[in-house]
Symmetry: C2
Subunit: 235 residues, 2 copies
Amino acid sequence: MSAAVSLPLERELAVVCVSGGMDSAVTAAIAADRNRLAFLHASYGQRTASKERDCFHRLADHMRVERRLEITIPALALIGGSSLTDESVPIRHGAPEPGVVPATYVPFRNANILAAAVSWAEAIAAHAVFYGAVWADSSGYPDCRPEFYRAFESAVRAGTRPEARIGVVTPVIHMRKAEIVRRGMELGVPFEWTWSCYESWREACGECESCLLRRRGFAEAGVVDPIHYRAPVKP
Amino acid sequence: MSAAVSLPLERELAVVCVSGGMDSAVTAAIAADRNRLAFLHASYGQRTASKERDCFHRLADHMRVERRLEITIPALALIGGSSLTDESVPIRHGAPEPGVVPATYVPFRNANILAAAVSWAEAIAAHAVFYGAVWADSSGYPDCRPEFYRAFESAVRAGTRPEARIGVVTPVIHMRKAEIVRRGMELGVPFEWTWSCYESWREACGECESCLLRRRGFAEAGVVDPIHYRAPVKP
């Protein structure tokens, strides 16, 4: 008998929903530790879709992810109800108000993106869908709650083929933004190729909710944010 | 003081996912008993989409439903993995095999449709989404299981605004096809304007899984199916 040889196990395939923002970029870097990756981007009528897709491909190139799927979810723009998808509703500038769901909330958006990601995962035999939702330090969107992802995972287990066994994984959901920045720095995430702003100007506005959360995160982490902002830091 | 007048309570608004098939038509008739209705149809690249949309509008006209939304879910056709959305995979004719998920299964399709329906329900302040899934007497698609809808409803409660309180209602899920036919007859469902066949020929093929389940249901109920079939009933 020959000596037992320990063969490296082939790493399992996972779908990562990559928006082009910093949270999903860090989520992708975390997922890469133990998985082969497939990246999904969803355009749902958000004004920043082309900025996001550019960051999506730069991150995929950087991480050498070949398998990429760009989808559109036209129903969300048709349904409306959000300043992100309705150009006639201005983006509110300023910090989120505690306990108030902001006008940027797109009704049940994350479920629409996740459902498509799970369909893809089932079709390509991936064992997980990674999603960069953040609850601890966020705008308070209901579809960013940890309970939502737990319930959605139960729906996935019940609603896909028995052998599919697809998990829904949200590794940054309980992290504060500063922690996400620090983890991304450790993992070599190219933050210069992420877009967080709700506006689609050449430079990030620096004043919308999403920019404010990002800037506070970098400041708290003591890391220089490599992207440029139109508005200076408020004193 | 004037005498107290008992005003009729305004009926609540509900979204019904209407495919154009018989199960969702009966579901709509059941929902109409206690709700004002809004109809949603989803095209996801299925070969029968235009037949279905025609039935969708005829049923909506018949039931005097003004509020209608037709959406497309292009991701499902892009992802593939099903003979319903991939013209190169032929539709298998014959009865479903017990315990086998058939090639007509579109991975996690119902979650994609439901997610969009819930987004619409949240945007228009509807209190429920009705879905005509059938498990008792069906092709065995995993996303038709009762557990899937229970888990999805939990995801809806967790993932929408607290005040939304949207239920997911599947009134025919435990009914056999014959029972659905009988219930539809009682409620005056115009079965002549429903399309169940997986093919998009002028007449229903009469031999695909979906036609066979429908024909058996009408036969068991002792009701004449008002639509025409290309293939005669097998002896």
